[in-house]
């Protein structure tokens, strides 16, 4: 490749982050090059330094971080040797940024179009009226509804998927040479994600902008990038063009990332005479006056996993709130072993409360940071089973062994001293402490890296075998459903769209919504996005 083709070259980049013990290295000597019009995928788990490198490509380091060594050469100039003013002339104008959460990255005070035109006007690229005209054109190209008027709305008046498109349009506003996409679709539902992905890809291809596409999702990067670089703990593992990387990854770490979706839970036989542990019968519920659940029914059998799947706002977590008695249904009932449960948890007996436990998405906020593991697990043991003193201690140790954590090492730690996966394991142990017959798992792997998430799924599967537990597994992730479910309940807008054994729900013919949901899940095939879009276009969807 000729030198003039390269728009960005990073050499020996070292970035340090401030910790309690001083500065520690979070990016350890990464090289990167980007040609004009090329899309480079940066992939890795959390802590890989993807975002940090992406921001460094703009000469920017977040508070508490510093670029300690290296060169960042953009269009022949080293960004790190530039003045602040010189860097500002490049940011936004020649290298733009698209953040993970557009909802948080738009200023709530201003209309979308004013935020769009701010950059071009500030950088003297366009006048205000030119920029507004241009905004509408780009909104149209990003396939936003009502492109003439949508810019005059405030961020909170627009949906998440639309905001993500609007922020991509904003990044294009100065027609930059490079755009850094930092997990732009991670916060979106799959059916929305596919629209945003195709809009991003079209606009990048049309304008010939180079891009760095940061994500943890291999299937997404397969659709978007020409080349992929795999990162682990701030260092490069390997780099290759996308098809080569997908077909023949060289490094064992890359191979393990590729293989992670292969996990399958042990299938469980169910006898037709078995009665359900928990039965949700014709439940409707509302927040204030807004109906969020309409006539929802499903059964959960012992030693089975029911996956409740749906997009945000489909009512899956609300169903869990009704089952745990946190939300009173407006009609219908929840039965525990054929006995109707009181609709409010304060009216339920200790025995009834004990039977249904919960594990939450964010172990960070679900565990009291001030308590030691001993207290976090010991208290529910004492509350539900009455064990005290030595018996309690022994039970804590037994539970820690069950979740594959060494009791001697962890019993006196606090949540802050654990990794994300370990915290989630403690969440599981706390649920087990009550000795329940059913556990509601609310998006328990969504916040975790894939390898860690797989470990949690394996653990849950093993516990189910050992303890005959029933799981209600709330998730938006189809891959997780495929891995662990026995039965599947598909929800949309507060209603059950389709329900039944996994094999049945996932084999055609589908309900149209299930079809849309399943076909929107990105696959590792680099041609997947094209094929799906083509398929939808030809079937008139």
């Amino acid at each position: 490749m000729s030198q003039s083709d390269e728009i960005l070259t990073i050499k020996g980049l070292h970035i340090e982050g401030k910790t309690d013990e001083g500065w520690s290295e979070i990016v350890k000597g990464v090289d990167l090059s980007l040609k004009k019009g090329e899309i480079l995928g940066l992939i890795g788990e959390s802590g890989a330094g993807k975002s940090t490198i992406g921001l460094a490509a703009m000469g920017y380091a977040r508070g508490g971080c510093r670029i300690s060594a290296g060169e960042i050469i953009f269009d022949g100039h080293n960004l790190l040797e530039m003045s602040n003013k010189g860097q500002r002339r490049i940011r936004g104008r020649r290298i733009a940024y698209v953040a993970q959460s557009a909802a948080a990255s738009f200023n709530p005070t201003y209309k979308l179009i004013d935020q769009y035109s701010e950059g071009p006007v500030f950088h003297h690229v366009m006048s205000k009226s030119e920029a507004e005209h241009d905004a509408k054109e780009l909104y149209r190209r990003m396939q936003l509804p009502d492109p003439e008027m949508i810019g005059y709305r405030y961020p909170h008046q627009v949906s998440g998927g639309q905001l993500q498109r609007a922020i991509t349009a904003m990044a294009m506003s100065c027609r930059p040479d490079i755009i850094i996409f930092d997990e732009p679709t991670t916060a979106l539902d799959v059916t929305t994600q596919i629209e945003v992905l195709s809009a991003i890809r079209d606009i990048v291809n049309q304008s010939g902008t180079a891009a760095i596409y940061i994500t943890h999702d291999l299937a997404v990067v397969a659709q978007m990038a020409d080349r992929v670089k795999v990162l682990l703990k701030g260092a490069e593992i390997e780099e290759a063009d996308t098809r080569t990387m997908l077909r023949a990854p060289r490094d064992t770490y890359t191979k393990s990332l590729w293989a992670v979706r292969s996990f399958q839970a042990t299938p469980k036989k169910i006898e037709s005479t078995t009665r359900p542990v928990v039965s949700v019968q014709n439940v409707s519920a509302a927040y204030e006056t807004q109906l969020v659940l309409t006539d929802v029914s499903f059964d959960i059998f012992p030693c089975q996993t029911v996956a409740v799947v749906g997009e945000s706002g489909s009512g899956k977590s609300t169903a869990a709130r009704v089952m745990t008695g946190l939300l009173e249904p407006s009609s219908g009932s929840v039965k525990l072993r054929d006995e109707p449960l009181p609709s409010v948890y304060t009216d339920r007996s200790k025995k009834q409360l004990q039977e249904i436990q919960m594990i939450y998405q964010s172990a960070d906020t679900a565990l009291n940071p001030k308590q030691r593991i001993r207290e976090i697990i010991g208290w529910p043991i004492e509350f539900y089973t009455g064990l005290k003193g030595n018996a309690n201690e022994n039970r804590i140790r037994e539970l820690l062994t069950m979740i594959e954590m060494d009791p001697d090492e962890f019993i006196d730690r606090r949540p802050g001293e654990l990794s994300g996966g370990q915290k989630q394991r403690i969440g599981i142990a706390r649920a087990l402490a009550a000795d329940p017959s059913m556990i509601i798992c609310d998006e328990v792997t969504s916040a975790l890296d894939q390898l860690v998430a797989e470990g949690i799924l394996r653990l849950l599967d093993k516990l189910q075998q050992d303890l005959d537990l029933a799981y209600m597994f709330i998730t938006h992730d189809i891959a997780t459903v495929r891995a662990i479910a026995d039965d599947v309940v598909v929800m949309k807008a507060g209603k059950v769209v389709e329900a039944g054994p996994k094999a049945e729900v996932f084999t055609p013919p589908h309900d149209p919504y299930t079809e849309l949901l399943l076909s929107s899940v990105p696959e590792m095939d680099p041609d997947w996005l094209d094929n799906v879009l083509q398929g939808r276009a030809s079937s008139g969807n």
Partner: protein, 317 residues
């Protein structure tokens, strides 16, 4: 707009309820003062007969509830009663005092609010710089000193040297400029007292927002720091700033007793102090109620304006 008006109407309603509660507290507190008011006013030498006559004159023989309703009703009509000590109409007595207090408060507010907010913005903009620290140290030392000491230091520096008068006695014949000149020292004292609080709150509210994603986005758009602070952080920091301004405005009206005394300024605070020493409960009640109204009013306005500063409420879906 519905939800916004609902919020405002609710706040108004709560304000009225608070006002009624405060008026009851003031009335009951004065009821509970030890001893018989008529006896106290007439002194130890008064005969029981004169005390009884005086009690009847004051209406003290009637039940407390009737007297409260009478008093509260009078307040609503603007009939504040007759002062016990001077036998003058309280409204007349209080009118010029209120005007003077408001004049001084407005004077101090017009200096200190723009000053405090600009300094707060500058301190946030140049966080950790010499300017930031200097502003912090100066404002903190001025707020840490008792007001009377601050007042005397200013008298020593600016009045002893002959630039400004030590006493801020207003007369009705004075021109507006003369009034500004005469009241400059008390206004300056008050400014020094309240600026620090507002300035530090402004700085903290801005600094709090600097970690948010939309500020990072603004930086990555290549905007200047000044533009980021003024255009992106400040509008979103308005709610806490409005609240702290309101608290300080209320303080300017109700908390200036010491400053008024030092500079012999004929304001409401001084009237209150005088009336307490003269045991003129009628005036004390009225003055306390006026202070309460000021507090409730400013907090109400703060609530309404900080609600209005929230774009989610101003522009509902």
């Amino acid at each position: 707009m519905n939800s916004l008006w609902l919020v405002i109407v609710k706040r108004l309603g709560l304000g009225i309820v608070t006002l009624i509660a405060v008026s009851i507290i003031i009335f009951v507190a004065i009821e509970m003062l030890p001893g018989d008011i008529a006896q106290i006013i007439l002194g130890q030498s008064a005969t029981p007969e004169t005390v009884a006559v005086f009690r009847q004159e004051l209406g003290l023989d009637r039940p407390a509830l009737t007297r409260y309703l009478d008093w509260a009703g009078g307040m609503l009509r603007g009939d504040f009663g007759t002062a016990l000590a001077s036998k003058r109409d309280v409204s007349e007595l209080i009118q010029s005092r209120i005007f003077n207090t408001l004049f001084l408060a407005a004077y101090a507010a017009l200096i200190s609010i723009p000053l405090a907010i600009s300094l707060g913005l500058l301190a946030a903009l140049y966080r950790g710089s010499v300017l930031d620290r200097a502003v912090n140290i100066i404002s903190l030392s001025s707020v840490s000193m008792p007001e009377f000491l601050l007042a005397y230091i200013l008298v020593f520096l600016l009045a002893q040297t002959g630039f400004f008068p030590t006493m801020s006695d207003l007369t009705p014949t004075m021109s507006f400029q003369e009034k500004l000149y005469v009241t400059f020292l008390p206004a300056l004292t008050l400014t020094l007292v309240i600026t620090a609080h507002m300035m530090r709150m402004t700085r903290a509210a801005i600094v709090n927002l600097l970690a948010s994603a939309y500020i990072e986005m603004a930086e990555l758009k290549g905007l200047s720091r000044t533009r980021i602070i003024l255009m992106h952080a400040f509008p979103n920091a308005l709610a806490p700033i409005i609240n702290v301004v309101a608290i300080n405005l209320a303080y300017l009206i109700t908390g200036v007793v010491v400053v008024e005394v030092v500079f012999v300024y004929p304001g409401l605070g001084q009237l209150l102090v005088d009336s307490v020493s003269k045991r003129d409960v009628v005036v004390v009640q009225v003055a306390s109620l006026i202070f309460a109204v000021a507090y409730i009013l400013f907090n109400l306005l703060a609530d309404i304006f900080s609600t209005l500063s929230n774009p989610r409420l101003r522009h509902p879906k």
